[in-house]
């Protein structure tokens, strides 16, 4: 086989798959640009005619998306740094513990990772209600104590364990405390992991729907996903309108993914968290 046709064989299926996965998102954008109230088109249209940008200002008018965005950003601003701090602390401490205790903590983390959120929802709600924390943002921020997901703790643990043991031995001989080692030596060495965890914590917190749905009642405290749901229930048949809202809610996380994809999806092994 010639090189050219081999390249084509490699690209063609990959390209088809990529198009398949991107298509829904493309339809989300083009759907949001349809003029409301038009009859259904006869054939699939790549770009609606006329292109109507009016759905965006209209969506912002009907529900207070700017306020919800601000609320989401406040929650994110609290949850993301706390996640990175708690997850990297726990991961670092685990990597310094004797093998057996570390193994036990890994096992506990894996079990915790397996528990579905819906199984804890009812009792978490009862708990936060007893603490009088319902209808505040605290229940949305609280999971960052456990690194948003135990998986992020494990990710830090694995990355710290890959660092050479002599390095930590040297720090210890210098008389550095673990907190100082974490801050001055370990964290700078795992920066890509820290960035990736921060971005994933952002995506998780920004997209979180179940928690706000259960804990928030006051409309002024809503986050973006709740606002989006409110928008879709206003007029369930006005597709262009709520698609405009969906695009607004999705754009930040797509941007975030495009920013971090080089750490874990790119072709160069050895630089990312999956590499060696």
């Amino acid at each position: 086989m010639s090189t050219a046709s081999r390249t084509a064989w490699r690209h063609l299926p990959a390209l088809l798959v990529a198009v398949g996965f991107v298509a829904p998102l493309v339809f989300m954008v083009t759907g949001s640009l349809r003029q409301a109230g038009l009859p259904p088109p006869r054939s699939p249209e790549l770009l609606p005619s006329p292109v109507a940008f009016g759905n965006y200002p209209r969506a912002f008018e009907l529900v207070d998306i700017p306020r919800y965005t601000l609320n989401s950003l406040v929650v994110v601003a609290a949850a993301v740094p706390l996640t990175v701090l708690c997850a990297s602390w726990a991961g670092f401490a685990m990597s310094r513990l004797p093998r057996r205790s570390a193994g036990a903590l890994v096992a506990v983390s894996l079990v915790a990772l397996m528990v579905p959120l819906t199984a804890l929802l009812v009792s978490r709600f009862a708990m936060f209600r007893i603490l009088r924390l319902t209808d505040t943002w605290w229940p949305l921020i609280a999971p960052s104590l456990m690194g948003t997901s135990p998986f992020y703790v494990l990710l830090f643990y694995w990355s710290f364990r890959r660092l050479p043991a002599e390095l930590f031995e040297a720090c210890r001989l210098e008389g550095m405390r673990p907190l100082a080692v974490w801050r001055r030596v370990a964290m700078p060495l795992v920066r890509p992991v820290a960035v990736a965890v921060a971005v994933f914590a952002f995506v998780d917190t920004w997209s979180n729907f179940l928690d706000p749905l259960v804990y928030l009642f006051d409309e002024r405290k809503f986050t973006v996903p709740l606002g989006l749901r409110a928008l879709s229930t206003l007029d369930p048949n006005n597709y262009p309108l709520f698609l405009a809202g969906a695009v607004t809610a999705t754009a930040p996380v797509i941007g975030a993914l495009l920013y971090v994809q080089r750490f874990f999806l790119q072709e160069f092994r050895g630089s990312g968290w999956l590499g060696r």
């Binding site: 490699r10 690209h11 990959a14 390209l15 798959v17 990529a18 198009v19 996965f21 339809f27 759907g31 259904p40 088109p41 006869r42 054939s43 701090l85 602390w89 726990a90 401490a93 310094r96 990772l113 579905p116 959120l117 819906t118 199984a119 804890l120 929802l121 009812v122 009792s123 709600f125 009862a126 708990m127 609280a142 999971p143 104590l145 456990m146 690194g147 405390r177 673990p178 907190l179 997209s207 729907f209 179940l210 989006l228 749901r229 879709s232 597709y239 709520f242 698609l243 969906a246 809610a249 999705t250 996380v253 797509i254 975030a256 993914l257 080089r262 999806l265 072709e267 092994r269 999956l274």
Partner: protein, 293 residues
């Protein structure tokens, strides 16, 4: 003492994680089991009800339907998602120009916020305006009655979940990249074709991870149906066609304020999940034993 100081530092660093795990996973988990034995509406004090909640569940037709729906979902969605993740990983594990872009494209739908994702599919599946049926129509293919037929509505929820397989894809990709290339060289010397290579090297070496991935997917399947059922299909249509366990729990707990009853349904969900995972584990073990012999 240096050692004491070290230990104190490590304790401080572990503390938030352990407190978080205890307060948000261990205690609520235990409370769920306890609550399932009570009648509780958050207003009046809880009263002990013994196994009454479970007896009522056994008679509740809606519960039985939602349990069956959830099992159907797991039965179809998990194998498809797993196969999809492996296929993508095998397709995109090599290093070639632009592979990063393809991988990113496959991962994109996974990060779309749940509500936005649900609304997107509400649009895609729309029988009149939706791009999906328009495309099928343009190709001369049948246009399924999404949101009116029982099977089509359940299939719609499964299709939605298949596009969000990014995490499984990532894990499968990492696992595939761990397999040493020498093994493939050896088997190609033997003259094995692609299918034999897959069956004798790739699959067995990826199997442990895939088993773990399957278990995780089963657990999350019970959860993944919540937002689509709430927003896209509203639990129907036809009535209760897409009422899955999480929606049942949510409705009973947070709309009917029957927290004890909802907790009892949660306990059933946990037990069913554990049972399926156990079955899977047995199947994988038997398969591996047959392979070694």
């Amino acid at each position: 003492m240096i050692r004491d100081r070290e230990r104190r530092d490590l304790a401080v660093m572990l503390a938030p994680y352990l407190v978080g795990l205890a307060a948000l996973v261990v205690v609520p988990g235990a409370v769920t089991f306890a609550l399932s034995l009570f009648d509780y509406d958050l207003i009046r004090p809880a009263t002990f009800a013994g196994l009454d909640n479970f007896r009522e569940l056994a008679r509740d037709a809606v519960f039985r339907t939602s349990l069956r729906n959830s099992l159907h979902f797991v039965l179809f969605a998990v194998p498809v998602r797993l196969a999809g993740a492996v296929t993508l990983a095998l397709l995109l594990h090599r290093r070639f120009r632009g592979v990063g872009a393809y991988r990113t494209a496959a991962y994109l739908p996974t990060v779309v916020p749940d509500v936005a994702y649900a609304l997107l599919w509400l649009w895609l599946f729309n029988p009149l305006y939706g791009p999906l049926n328009l495309t099928l129509g343009a190709l001369g293919l049948p246009q399924p009655p999404w949101f009116t037929g029982l099977g089509a509505t359940q299939a719609a929820v499964i299709i939605m979940s298949v596009f969000q397989l990014g995490e499984g894809f990532l894990v499968a990709l990492a696992t595939r990249q761990e397999i040493p290339g020498e093994l493939y060289e050896l088997i190609s010397v033997e003259g094995a074709g692609p299918w034999a290579t897959f069956r004798r090297i790739t699959l067995p070496l990826m199997a442990p991870t895939l088993a773990l991935l399957a278990a995780r997917d089963v657990i999350f399947s019970f959860q993944a149906t919540f937002v689509p059922a709430l927003i896209v299909t509203g639990g129907g249509p036809p009535p209760y066609a897409t009422t899955y366990l999480p929606l049942f729990i949510y409705t009973n707990g947070f709309q009917y304020l029957r927290y004890g009853y909802a907790a009892a349904a949660t306990v059933c969900m946990i037990l069913v999940t554990a049972y399926i995972v156990l079955l899977q584990y047995r199947m994988v073990r038997r398969w591996r034993e047959s392979f070694v012999v």
